[in-house]
Amino acid sequence: MIGIYAALMISFLLVVLLLCVWRGKAQAAQQLPPKSELTPREEGGEPEACPPEIVSRIFSGDDWHFVEGVRSSLVKKLFCRERKAVALIWVQETSAGIRRVMREHLESARRSHDLEIASEAKIFLQYAQLQFACGVLFACIELVGPQRLRGFAIYTDALARRIADAQLTLRAVSVHHEIHGADSP
């Protein structure tokens, strides 16, 4: 039988969704931009809110090294605060751009006759991954700041490589043990 918790959960979910309907969320969502703005652009790079070289500059340590040379704690503090705010806004705008891509896709897909569930699921998964990446990026910027993020990424990359190497070694050792274990009586 369907458990009590499952029944309660589905009732709760139903009530929450009904509240969304009651509050007119669906009505608000229909206020999409006119069609001309919704046609998927053939050229990519739509979520790019600002040029990549500027984005790269936000996360690079060059400016930070320059500010460090000034030897003023006030300037350093101000720089950190401003740079973090810019980086966070960039992540938010990128995330909003990705949301817009998805919304436009849904707007187009809902009227297509030959909509495919598998493709929809794949696109949704891609979208969820990107939103998750934005969330992680946002949290990392909050935690370590944009300048150290690149260093953090290098560290994570090196760590991942070391773990992978260790796994390979471990696997090789276990295979070696299995072969020798099989040989022994």
Partner: protein, 253 residues
């Protein structure tokens, strides 16, 4: 006294709903829903009459009408799907598959439960069976609302009312059927105060939203009707991949 008032009030609201539905031609737009309301009205009167004049048959009449109500309720869910998604063939296809999956799962689960239970007796499991069917209706409505919200499908005022009222009724039924059988008298005692007003509220929502006919909002877009899905999906995938590259470039070591 209050319960009597709520009961008779419910009958009055059901009659009012039917009158407004016929006068406003809503009954032709939502025939299954109005058939359901007519059935509920007749069911209440039939149960009352049986209770007064042939009380030994009450239990039989109760369960037969209860199951007929559940069956027509399933049809109401399909009507919500049919009317709400009539202008969206792609989404309708997804919903159709989803509803089919949910109902097949329900039938399979019931079949497995019944075949696995050596103590299975129709009288003992009647409430369980109704509970499973109501839970499956709840799943179907949740899936439908999620689709409506994800694809930004606009509801008309009438359809929203049907969905709100019926969804509320199903949520209350699931809670009652889950705890009614297993919990003690205390729960039943308190529930007897909650259930009649909640049904009264459901009828109120229906009367308010179905007072007059309001056409469902037409989708603003018409150009993409013939657009091939594959092209749309490919464009979106490419744009998402670009976004991934863009994000990665910022922090790539």
């Amino acid at each position: 006294m209050l319960n009597q008032f709520i009961w008779w009030g419910g009958i009055v609201l059901e009659v009012l709903l039917l009158i407004r539905g016929i006068r406003g031609k809503l009954a032709f737009q939502y025939p299954v829903f109005y058939a359901y309301i007519s059935f509920v009205l007749l069911q209440s009167l039939l149960r009352l009459a049986t209770y007064h004049w042939n009380s030994p048959a009450y239990s039989y009449v109760y369960w037969v009408t209860e199951f007929l109500g559940v069956a027509i309720g399933c049809a109401v869910v399909f009507e919500i799907y049919r009317v709400g998604l009539s202008a969206y063939p792609g989404t309708a296809r997804v919903a159709r598959n989803l509803l089919f999956f949910v109902f097949v799962m329900a039938i399979a689960k019931t079949f497995v439960d019944v075949s696995n239970d050596p103590r299975w007796r129709p009288a003992a499991t009647t409430m369980d069976l109704e509970r499973i069917l109501r839970i499956e209706q709840a799943f179907a409505i949740v899936a439908l609302i999620a689709l409506f919200l994800v694809y930004s499908i606009p509801f008309g005022r009438n359809l929203r009312g049907i969905l709100l009222g019926y969804g509320m009724f199903i949520a209350m039924s699931v809670i009652w059927l889950t705890f009614g059988a297993s919990s003690g008298d205390t729960f039943r005692h308190y529930w007897s105060y909650v259930q009649p007003p909640s049904y009264f509220m459901t009828l109120g929502v229906w009367v308010a939203h179905l007072w007059s006919y309001r056409a469902s909002p037409e989708p603003k877009t018409t150009v993409l009707l013939e657009q091939q899905y594959q092209r749309v999906a490919a464009a979106t995938t490419r744009r998402l991949q670009d976004a991934r590259g863009y994000l990665g470039r910022a922090v790539r070591p």
